[in-house]
Symmetry: C2
Subunit: 289 residues, 2 copies
Amino acid sequence: MLIGGIEAGGTKFIYGISTSEGEIIDKQTCSTETPEMTLKTVVDYFMDKEISALGIGSFGPIDLKLGSPTYGYITSTPKPYWGNTNIVGYFQEKLQVPIGFDTDVNGAILAESLWGSCKDLKNCCYITIGTGIGGGILVENQLVHGILHPEIGHILVKQHKKDSFEGSCPFHQDCLEGLASGPAIEKRWGCTGSQLPTNHITWEFEAYYIAQLLVSLILTVSPQRIVLGGGVMHQKQLLPLIHEQVKTLLNGYIKVPQILNDIKDYIVSPSLEDNAGFLGAIALGKSVI
Amino acid sequence: MLIGGIEAGGTKFIYGISTSEGEIIDKQTCSTETPEMTLKTVVDYFMDKEISALGIGSFGPIDLKLGSPTYGYITSTPKPYWGNTNIVGYFQEKLQVPIGFDTDVNGAILAESLWGSCKDLKNCCYITIGTGIGGGILVENQLVHGILHPEIGHILVKQHKKDSFEGSCPFHQDCLEGLASGPAIEKRWGCTGSQLPTNHITWEFEAYYIAQLLVSLILTVSPQRIVLGGGVMHQKQLLPLIHEQVKTLLNGYIKVPQILNDIKDYIVSPSLEDNAGFLGAIALGKSVI
């Protein structure tokens, strides 16, 4: 049985097919242009693939409320052309297969809990730090939806004392995404993060901001493990700085051995590596078979 | 069938009996002294009450992990005498009835979802702003536990520009609880909040800090409704200021009508009023029948 998956990102779409056990058979990439161009490229790919189900993990905000007139839409994204796009409807009409739909990051945490570093954990989070900052959350084996879905990239954070950058979020200026996303690093220094030395102060800033998000997650949903992915996390010096900052900020308040003694096994890189998002889409497809 | 309930608070214990439908038959209060004194007072009360189950909603941190050697304990609280107290074991031994145990605020949100302002909602939060700040969270009808339980009072917040108070939290200094709890107000101004005028700037500070918590909750667990209780919320001028601040801070990013148009019905006072905590304990007792 083949499952199709689409990781719909703001920069690129990754799409392909896999077995229901998460073994990838084929995977393609195209850049995110207008919905007309990009969705056409992707649907053409699937036309002869005989998939039993399709999973779509999308950038947000999206409408996940079954029965809503805009269920399956990308809704109020600031990304040009993509506001109000009926992404599920488009593929449903052309492919006529069941479609599992959620945020890219909710997909990713589902995949990590099925096949990755959160295997068999019922409470865990996947965070991506890249062009945007987002998170998927599993609570008692259920993806968190509620009134919308998690949008944790936009929580407010305390600014680092040495950081005078005004922030880059069009909605909130100096929220987490406005201070710590890839574009925020680029706007602050005039070059990308990968062009900065590994001992540059920007990594201290990043660790401070990301640690505030993790502390907030720990104090709110109390995950059993947190997975940190996304382009900014490719900077290998960053994860140890984050471990240290989380412990500093919590200051011994949460007395569990996972945090006090084993934080390297508690806040981890995606074991599915850069396939976490794509396998997330596969996991969403698997969930509707 | 009678259910016993104990709301174990840092300042006082409220205990009594109720029907399984949440109709209170009797309710008593005693101040929180040492475990020896207070637990004895409470257990003596229940001795002749013929309850079928007992619910305990407790201040934290507590151990909720079934099978843990310290399950049912109040663990690392800074409250003198109460660290490492086996509260469930104590009542189990003396009363020999099934005991439901959780944080006071997880109990409260369960009660609000059974009998109060969150009736029939599967995703909702109860926050108390008082001697401490805490929150209970229901996700898809399940109380959030994870590695521990929510401890949202200690999230980090941006300090209000006009507020130079250094904070009062022994662990984190200027975390939310350190800036916005009842004792923080008292330490900041040298008098209790209820002694300050209703147009005092402290209420602007409170609204700013509490709104940051609510924004963080909205962006993380996306609740369908949030209930705000606790002593500080008795200041009636505060809730409208919080409504306004939440909208200001989110700045239109979360486009759901509940926030954009109906925020007064979205962030509400406990409809169970000051019984939310006690009925929370009853709800926890009901859950183990």
